[in-house]
Symmetry: C2
Subunit: 205 residues, 2 copies
């Protein structure tokens, strides 16, 4: 069986810990991480091809023109996009590809890839979300309020996801997301060929 890999989209409120969950998934298991392209300047310590592919506006526009992104968006004056080639080549090889992406991008992807697995990571409560945002210590009070407002808006899109995973304990959350991906490969609809194979074997023996 040479099955195509899955496309796994991970979203969640800012402060839900999805970045850490994705890092752990890549570190512990054999998933391929899609790296986004952006026109913003690299920050200190960022490596081209690791955090982002850093592109000029001309290069980015050229990729848009040639259908090089499965989704892209503009925030303030910068562009962000998911390169198509990597995602499709990896899936073709049978690798599961993880994308960490905002709710709007996630829905665009579901429209193009009906089998994409949409996973939403959330803290157990609004109170805990605020605690985490404040606890980071990197955001001022105004930014915390902005992120809470953003989360409030994003709740409307949660119903478009296939799975809701509560990130209460990091290790458990990583296990659960891994479990969801494994689980997908065991679904009856993904095993029709296997059933046919073992039925033939048992009939012939």
């Amino acid at each position: 069986m040479n099955k195509k890999g899955l496309l796994i989209v991970i979203s969640g409120f800012s402060g839900a810990g999805k970045g850490t969950v994705v890092k752990q998934l890549i570190k512990k298991y054999n998933y391929s991480l899609s790296v986004s392209a952006t026109t913003r300047e690299p920050r200190e310590g960022e490596v081209d091809g690791r955090e982002y592919y850093f592109k000029t506006k001309e290069e980015f526009q050229n990729l848009i023109d040639y259908n090089g992104f499965i989704e892209w968006a503009q925030y303030v004056e910068n562009y962000y996009g998911t390169p198509r080639a990597f995602v499709e080549e990896e899936m073709e090889k049978g690798h599961h590809v993880i994308l960490e992406i905002e709710v709007q991008g996630a829905l665009n992807i579901k429209n193009q890839y009906k089998d994409a697995l949409l996973i939403f990571i959330t803290p157990p409560s609004a109170k805990e979300l605020r605690n985490r945002l404040v606890g980071r210590g990197t955001e001022d009070a105004q930014t915390v309020e902005k992120r809470m407002k953003q989360a409030q808006k994003e709740t409307k899109d949660m119903v478009n996801y296939d799975y809701i995973v509560v990130n209460d304990d990091l290790e458990e959350c990583v296990q659960t997301v891994h479990g969801i991906i494994q689980c997908e490969t065991c679904k009856l609809s993904n095993n029709k060929e296997f059933i046919e194979e073992i039925t033939n074997q048992l009939n012939e023996q």
Copy 2:
């Protein structure tokens, strides 16, 4: 959230290793195991309430009459059944209940409990199934052939299961089944209340 527990039905070819998988699941995780009732005599080392609830034919018939089983069947001259009270009480408490049961019983249960999770455990190939049956050393050649024939018949029912799990490596198989159960609890349809809750919290804060 006080959610009802799931009903998990595990079946598989004789020799697929489902008994060992179930034992490991109960040992490692917080699942409730449904113990069957039977009218057959206890074998050496078997404990009432652990391997089976041992009943007289009169007691068993009485339970049938009072709708005390969610499914029951007769093999040769003995009766086997799944007591209703334990399963429903555990689910009501929010515990996930595991049932190890044959294909026919599994389908009966799916007819009564639409949300039951049906998992079929299979070795990777017919050849491997035979190897395991022979390797056990407890069955004579005739019994091995009988079990292979039985497996051949059971392939027809595999399409009625929700998940097909290949038991190639025991540890991995146990992890996968555990993952499938966790995964079910994360499905959007099982999280509507949670979404409502966190939406309200974010709107009110």
